[in-house]
Symmetry: C2
Subunit: 229 residues, 2 copies
DNA sequence: AATAATTTTTAGATTAGTCTAAAAATTAAA
DNA sequence: TTTAATTTTTAGACTAATCTAAAAATTATT
């Protein structure tokens, strides 16, 4: 079932989701992506993935040779980036204009990212004053698909006495985001590392010069930050 | 392909569109709707409609007996109204917040109306200050699905010397809406009928006490209005 | 280098939604 | 009240996307 049968340039929701999944796997895993990795990310079976890979290859959206893994063509990458752009702009809209919390936006954005209208995206971008990052600190590709990756590090990599600014998260699950809310940790807040426990690499930190909390290494590995100033 | 396999209450886009089409046909044509009428409205074939009617009947969304036509169950009507509510709220958003023109919103709203999130709809409604009508003058069902139909008449039914207020359109095509723009006729403007030509029932009218134009009976039959004061 | 384990692909089936062509039922006309 | 025209339904086929089970290819281990 096609969204719009009028134009051959149209993708189904499913195709768009595959392209996005492949893009994100390449972004984190490396250059060539396996069938199984896609199956896991898409929560489907390897056989279904193989089917889809053939179709995407036919449409020149991916480079694919049997048993050799997958990369995106520039056409495929362009589509993936436009989906990511829409996802993050909609998340921004939901938080900024409709007062959603940052742990409530992802599911809805998963639907909104497939709405097809260039004018809608550009006007939405303008309405939001051309945001550079989304509510989770992830960069928003510009209209041309250019994405400027902010260079931050895992909080777990910083040292005692470092003062840093929280810039993003690795784990985007609502569970983790709600934990951060409770801990008073939000995007842009100051995190001063008071102590690093040798034994388990857990941290004692001061948030916004206000309150002191302990965070496990597991948590620290899912927080992104940069050194202050 | 279901949008969300988690809940049995979920409809596919296609099912939602059929329910909406049946609702609108009942609204204008009368109580019982034929297979062919649905086929025409959905731009599909009668055989496809019969297939779908069986499925909708299985789900208790319509009352359907072979050869006897279709009506909506209250469950089916509730879904139809929620789709219409979303469609009109999104049109309002596009015009009010993203500065779309009234002839540009329908296609995009056709996509947005299927986004599934109660919170999104209620927050959007609030963000727009709970509008009662959409950019074309059509009433927006409230959160409970209650729809208050504004009682207006075709401009073609009014008489010489009547002064009325434009409240809506029958034809929603962008062609007709663009014609109205050019003629300076917009929702809420005053239309004073200066003359009715016997021969072809065309009208000479004054818009907003500003300019005089001639409109054919064909046009007048597609404009809704109420008497001023 | 041969065998075992793993990954990937094929084969065949299923479901939603669509189509055309033909059969059946209803409605209109003679 | 038969016959003709129209409407609606069935039958059978197609596509996209999915699945399971089995075959083939690749990679790892002896
Ligand atoms: Mn997200
Ligand atoms: Mn995000
Ligand atoms: Mn509309
Ligand atoms: Mn409208």
């Amino acid at each position: 079932m096609y969204i719009c049968s009028k134009f051959s340039t149209m993708q189904s929701f499913t195709e768009e989701n595959y392209l996005k999944a492949i893009y994100k796997l390449i972004e984190q895993e490396g250059d060539v992506i396996t069938t199984n990795a896609i199956a896991e990310k898409m929560r489907t079976k390897a056989a279904s993935v193989t089917d889809m890979l053939k179709r995407l290859a036919d449409k020149k959206l991916i480079h694919y040779k049997k048993y050799q893994g997958v990369t995106l063509t520039s056409k495929g990458e362009k589509i993936a980036l436009s989906i990511i752009r829409k996802h993050r702009l909609w998340e921004m809209f939901l938080v900024e204009k409709l007062h959603f919390k940052w742990d409530e936006v992802h599911e809805v954005a998963e639907q909104l990212e497939h709405i097809n209208s260039d004018k809608l995206v550009e006007q939405l971008d303008k309405f939001l004053s051309y945001p550079k990052i989304d509510p989770h600190g992830d960069p928003i590709p510009d209209a041309k698909g250019k994405l400027t990756i902010p260079k931050s590090n895992l909080l777990s990599k910083f040292n005692k006495h470092d003062v840093c600014i929280m810039t993003g998260v690795v784990d985007h699950s609502s569970g983790f985001l709600q934990y951060l809310d409770k801990a008073g940790i939000a995007l842009g807040c100051e995190i001063k590392i008071k102590d690093v426990v040798e034994f388990d690499r857990s941290l004692r930190v001061v948030i916004n010069k206000e309150h002191t909390i302990f965070i496990s290494n597991d948590v620290a590995k899912n927080i992104l930050a940069i050194l202050k100033k």
